[in-house]
């Protein structure tokens, strides 16, 4: 007699996620999903760039420099979202021992670091003409710099151990502990008096940004998000293949010692 291996809804949800731990199934699912994500990213970025550079107005105060917003803000949103995803994956790896959780977290980390770097660099390029300074140590900028260091720390820690399992576990703990920085980044402009402006989109109340500017902003954000998913799928497949490679090489070395 067949019995379901789960007793409640949480077990069932976990079991359904565990289905994708099978590398063959993941490979097929990701191969089917990747063209859509990559194509969607290209479309969203293409249309977004058209609106960002051509078909949106200059700001009444900032003039044409406001166009930097269309890369700076999506990068910042992705920097935070990817860290949240990394922390969630780390928790899933530590708590439920999902085989792909740590793989996904490690694959996401360099992408998040890249977005954070783009956010910091474009922010500096925007700050110099607007504020007169490439950098200030206000709460928003400092906490995003810490976010960048957390990404780099995660990558370094995961690679620092001979035993990859221990490295993943240590890095996962770092990701979880560092998650406290995410709400700090988000609310820094409310909690401290910062040079960086307060939130215009993700706030209580309607967006404090004109629709003609919100549209390219959201398009670029969607493009960045689909780009992240595409790169994540590529990197997870890559890491699964790398593990297979290590297993094959190990089997070879054992089969033919001294050959």
């Amino acid at each position: 007699m067949l019995r379901r291996p789960w007793r409640n809804r949480s077990d069932r949800a976990v079991s359904s996620l565990h289905r994708f731990a099978n590398p063959g199934r993941f490979r097929r699912s990701s191969a089917a999903l990747l063209p859509w994500c990559a194509g969607g990213a290209a479309a969203a970025l293409g249309v977004g760039l058209y609106f960002a550079l051509f078909s949106s107005p200059p700001d009444y105060q900032q003039g044409q420099s406001v166009r930097i917003m269309y890369v700076h803000v999506p990068a910042a949103w992705m920097a935070l979202m990817v860290y949240a995803a990394m922390a969630a994956a780390s928790a899933a790896g530590l708590i439920w021992r999902h085989p792909l959780a740590h793989v996904a977290a490690r694959a996401a980390a360099p992408v998040g670091a890249a977005f954070t770097f783009v956010c910091l660099a474009t922010g500096a390029l925007w700050g110099k003409p607007m504020w007169g300074a490439w950098w200030v140590w206000d709460a928003r900028l400092t906490s995003v710099l810490i976010l960048f260091f957390l990404y780099l720390g995660y990558i370094a820690l995961a690679n620092a151990f001979d035993d990859p399992v221990r490295g993943e576990r240590a890095a996962a703990l770092l990701a979880l502990v560092g998650f406290v920085n995410v709400p700090i980044v988000k609310f820094s402009v409310d909690w401290w008096s910062t040079l960086h402006q307060p939130a215009s989109v993700a706030r209580i109340g309607p967006p404090a940004i004109d629709a003609s500017m919100l549209a390219p902003l959201l398009l670029m954000a969607a493009g960045f998000a689909l780009f992240f998913v595409s790169i994540l799928l590529v990197r997870v497949r890559s890491e699964l293949l790398a593990r297979r490679l290590r297993a094959l090489r190990l089997a070879r070395a054992r089969a033919a010692p001294g050959a």
Binding site: G24, G63, P110, V118, I231, L241, A242, L248, R252
Partner: protein, 73 residues
């Protein structure tokens, strides 16, 4: 021609706007290229080793295979 020059000038902010877009494009492109390059290299290496292996029917568990079945439960 003047319209293009005016567009590129970005009302004097060109030295900030265009490098910002260039940094974003360069970083994201580098990420994509490096990730895909590593994937292709791993695919190639795995294919080489799997072709080399003696053909044996083995119960397959947590490893990814290109041709020998697909791990269906």
């Amino acid at each position: 021609m003047e319209a293009i020059a005016a567009f590129l000038d970005m009302d004097g902010y060109a030295g900030y706007v265009w490098p910002a877009y260039a940094v974003a494009a360069a970083v994201l492109a580098a990420l994509a290229v490096l990730s895909v390059r590593r994937l292709r290299r791993n695919q190639r290496d795995v294919a080489v080793l799997e072709a080399d292996r003696p053909r044996r029917r083995r119960p397959r568990c947590a490893d990814e295979g290109a041709s020998e079945g697909d791990g269906e439960a």
